[in-house]
Amino acid sequence: MTLQTFWAGQGCMILQPYDVEMGAGTFHPATALRALGPRPWRAAYVQPSRRPKDGRYGENPNRLQHYYQFQVILKPAPRDVQDIYLNSIRAIGIDPLHHDIRFVEDDWESPTLGAWGLGWEVWCDGMEITQFTYFQQVGGFDCDPVSAELTYGLERLAMYVQGVESVYDLAYNEQFRYGEVFHQPEREFSAYDFEYADISILSRHFEDAENECRSLVGAGLALPAYDQCIKASHCFNLLDARGVISVTERAAYIARVRALAKSCCEAWLASPQGAYEPRIA
């Protein structure tokens, strides 16, 4: 909430999570697609992120297959974006004079999105609290202007602020703990991700999404096409977690998703990119 207020104060629209499963907030069209093209953009939102491979059956106090990211995208990247960012962590109670804040090299790359950027992971006393990236390319297209993307791991931050050792011990409010909401899902989804997800159904879903994406791109419908691209990506992540993809196949799957992402980005760039003229009555 503090983060939302802070970034709203920086001129960001507070958007809602996107309703398709995705591995990271970057996949939200408000970041992936809006980072392309010349139009300015400032948005912040929470995005549930699903990473089937990170499932630990609820036994690991720090790893989850489903967690929340708070994502900020600033286009073009302001010159003093590092300072603005530092103010955001001051706002949530981290005083850089009492803690050891560091910008440690961490270049970001998403082979499935055909995207990359340079930046850092921000450390607070040795803990990574934010990913900070200057987007250089998405879908193989140069980002011009360059956007700054900030991704906060909400559970991590909350653990830090509340000083707890296990994510499940976080207090959701005075009455409920995080574990009461998410421990059972972690157990069940880990079992699904690693043991029960039906391989043939997933492979079919992947192909369906791939075909649908292609035909939608053909129809010039960038946004619905992109939904299919994210779906294909999630199917691939599930198949990967099931351990049924060999190294060579893995590279081929990634290349297929990247091809979809590229064609969606191309379609997006050919579209009005969200331009809207209010009608004068």
Binding site: A77, P96, I101, R102, W120, M127, Y134, E165, S246
Partner: protein, 695 residues
């Protein structure tokens, strides 16, 4: 003499790129200065998390004046030619000088070019220098086409205390810099280098990386000492940490006792890769202590206790992840993981990791048999050597491959020799790493490298120039060191064929495959001979001697090869050896010249009945005896003796050259004498190819 100070201030530069960035900037600047005749006394560059700095001392105030002479037309040449010349030189006729040479008198234009002020030259070259900077990775940041490693914020540039005005990436140069991001965020005005260094230190920035490293080393050592501990040296980590902080403050934290049962390598790797912590140990023992050193970038008001607590908490999280892998991995024995290796690709043209394991097993079986080592243990270790690649821990920390295999094998109840062989089979990892010395470890380490060398070579991955993506040179050197340092007798050619035969099993054309395999082995032996030259060069063995022995062909036993090379070296150093070499060259030269003249080759036995002179007969007899003796001695690997026998040829050869004329009119006699000399070459070549010897 004016001094130049240049500081390029940016957002955080990756630690691993700082030193290279400073070097590159210095190289470009020094090059640009000397190109423009600006010679200086000294230049020094500095790198830190947010800045690259160069101080150039003793620059001239301006460029030297240059006078350039340009030769024009002859005196009395047509008016148009003279006019054109004057126009191009920008002078009038009375400013021209007349000079004469052999062809007559001509005009010369002497153009004086006054040197420009250093400040002006700098303002011109600096944007170009910054523009030429190449980083391993660079980015755009909405400042036009400029690229830097991270966004630039300011450029400080003064000459003799005054700002050198220029602009790069939309930033105007000035005399302002900034101190520590949090402890001293205000602007700092600077004139000269000394004042710059001091003001930065006051603003909590240590400019020089060497000094930052000193502080880290010294203070962590002191803090460890106070606890009766010592810091485990890690120079790569020290380099990295010194690139992550402007104001280093080492702090000691505690590792939760619950994790002290994890293998020490796991603790150390986890602390190092994820958290950049230094590990500590007791002064008198090898055991890891339950403490670590973290280097903060800030002197916090509470003495760093919150920072330590935070770092301890993160470490607990990291180690509980490691603990999860450790517990999880030990639930399934290595042997049960083999099938998973089938889905791990080793190389697109060299099959899966499981195929590789099968090949290593067959090589290990052959080696164990040849060396007389315990074959069952060797094969078992080879079979399990790669199984840790599919464990969770090695997935997380690839650098623990082998190490984890050893622990898991012990946990599975494998024999200690088998477990140690798994742990050591990647060795030697570099020229300074130790070589395995236990029998089973020797076999698996050797089999591993023989397989990767042979199959990757076959897959077309031979090293070329600076490219060696699969580190085949290292594998080659590893093979050589393991063999020589353990004095192992092994015929390499048939051994190299083993993995190739296994890799060939599923190919259609067996005959063609076999020919190809033999060609590969021949190439590999040449490659290993090259590597051997490199390996022995360090100890002063001449490469031409290796070549002289190796080029005889058929020698693929490295221990024997080296023994021969050494015997040959000693022989050539003796007077007999040096003399015989001279005689050999004389003989070979004569034969070569005559062969060329006659257009034929003189090879074969001379006819004993045609030997006229006593010296001919003596040499003939000496060659016959020597040949027989040398062959017998070589067969028994008595190389020293073989060389001594050869030394005995010196006298008859010298006598022969003193008293016998080879090129006589009698063609039959001449031919017979040439055959005798050619025979000398043949006999000598049984020990080494003397034509390859240099000097």
């Amino acid at each position: 003499m004016p001094d130049l100070l240049l500081e390029v201030f940016s957002e955080e530069i990756p630690a691993r790129m700082q030193a290279g960035g400073a070097r590159e900037l210095e190289r470009l600047l020094v090059g640009a200065l000397s190109d423009r005749g600006l010679l200086f006394e000294a230049a020094k560059s500095f790198a830190g998390p947010r800045r690259l700095t160069i101080a150039v001392a003793g620059l001239p105030a301006k460029q030297p004046d240059v006078s350039e002479e340009r030769k024009g037309p002859r005196v009395g040449a047509p008016g148009k030619a003279i006019e054109g010349f004057l126009r191009s030189a920008g002078i009038t006729l009375d400013q021209c000088v007349k000079q004469s040479d052999a062809k007559g008198e001509f005009y010369v234009a002497v153009i004086q070019r006054a040197g420009r002020a250093t400040e002006d030259v700098l303002a011109e070259i600096l944007p170009a220098v910054l523009d030429q900077m190449i980083w391993p990775k660079s980015m755009r940041w909405n400042a036009g086409i400029a690229r830097w490693v991270r966004p630039l914020h300011s450029i400080l540039c003064t000459l003799d205390g005054e700002v050198v005005p220029f602009e790069y990436a939309g930033i105007r140069s000035g005399n302002i810099t900034r101190g520590h991001r949090f402890m001293s965020p205000a602007n700092i005005e600077v004139r000269r280098f000394e004042d710059y260094r001091q003001k930065l230190a006051d603003a909590f920035v240590v400019l020089d990386v060497a000094q930052r490293k000193d502080i880290v080393e010294h203070e962590s050592r002191q803090k460890a000492f106070a606890l009766g501990l010592e810091v485990i040296d890690d120079s790569a980590l020290l380099d990295e940490v010194a690139g992550l902080v402007e104001w280093p403050v080492p702090l000691v934290g505690r590792i939760d006792d619950a994790f002290m049962d994890l293998p020490p390598e796991v603790l150390q790797t986890s602390m190092r890769t994820h958290q950049k912590f230094f590990a500590l140990r007791g002064t008198a023992q090898e055991r890891l202590a339950n403490r670590f050193v973290v280097v903060a970038n800030i002197a916090a008001a509470d003495g760093g206790s919150e920072i330590v607590a935070g770092n301890e908490r993160v470490l607990r999280a990291r180690l509980s992840d490691a603990q999860f892998f450790w517990d999880q991995d030990r639930r399934r024995p290595l042997a049960a993981r083999l099938s998973e290796l089938g889905s791990v690709v080793f190389h697109a043209r060299a099959g899966s990791m499981l195929d590789r394991v099968h090949r290593i097993e067959s090589v290990a079986a052959v080696l164990a048999r040849d060396f007389g080592f315990d074959q069952a243990k060797c094969v078992r270790a080879a079979q399990l050597a790669k199984a840790d690649l599919v464990t969770g821990m090695v997935g997380e920390f690839p650098e623990l491959q082998g190490t984890m295999g050893r622990y898991y094998a012990l946990n599975d109840g494998e024999e200690p020799e088998v477990a140690n062989a798994i742990g050591d089979h990647y060795r030697p990892l570099g020229p300074n790493d130790r070589v395995p010395s236990e029998p089973v470890a020797i076999v698996v380490a050797l089999a591993d490298k023989i397989d990767s060398l042979a199959t990757l070579w076959r897959a077309g991955e031979k090293p070329t120039g600076s490219k060696d993506p699969f580190a085949l040179r290292r594998a080659g050197l590893g093979i050589i060191r393991i063999i020589l340092e353990n004095t192992l007798r092994i015929r390499l050619a048939p051994t190299l064929l083993v993995p190739l035969a296994a890799a060939r099993n599923n190919e259609a054309d067996a005959a063609a495959g076999e020919t190809a395999a033999r060609e590969i082995v021949a190439e590999l032996l040449g490659f290993l001979a090259d590597r051997l030259e490199v390996a022995l060069r360090g100890e002063g063995t001449r490469h031409d001697l290796i070549n002289a022995v190796f080029s005889l062909g058929g020698e693929d036993d490295l221990v024997r090869l080296v023994a021969r090379v050494r015997a040959l070296g000693r022989f050539l150093e003796s007077p007999d050896g040096a003399n015989l070499l001279a005689a050999y060259r004389r003989a070979v030269n004569i034969v070569k010249i005559e062969e060329k003249r006659d257009g034929c080759s003189y090879q074969g036995q001379p006819d004993p009945d045609l030997l006229e002179l006593p010296e001919e007969r003596t040499l003939f007899a000496a060659l016959a005896t020597a040949h027989e003796t040398i062959l017998a001695e070589l067969a028994h690997e008595r190389f020293k003796e073989a060389m001594r026998t050869m030394a005995g040829l010196r006298e008859p050869v010298d006598r022969f050259f003193e008293n016998v004329t080879v090129n006589v009119a009698d063609r039959v006699l001449r031919k017979n004498r040439l055959l005798l000399l050619s025979r000398l070459r043949e006999v000598m070549h049984t020990t080494a190819n003397f034509s390859r010897i240099e000097g």
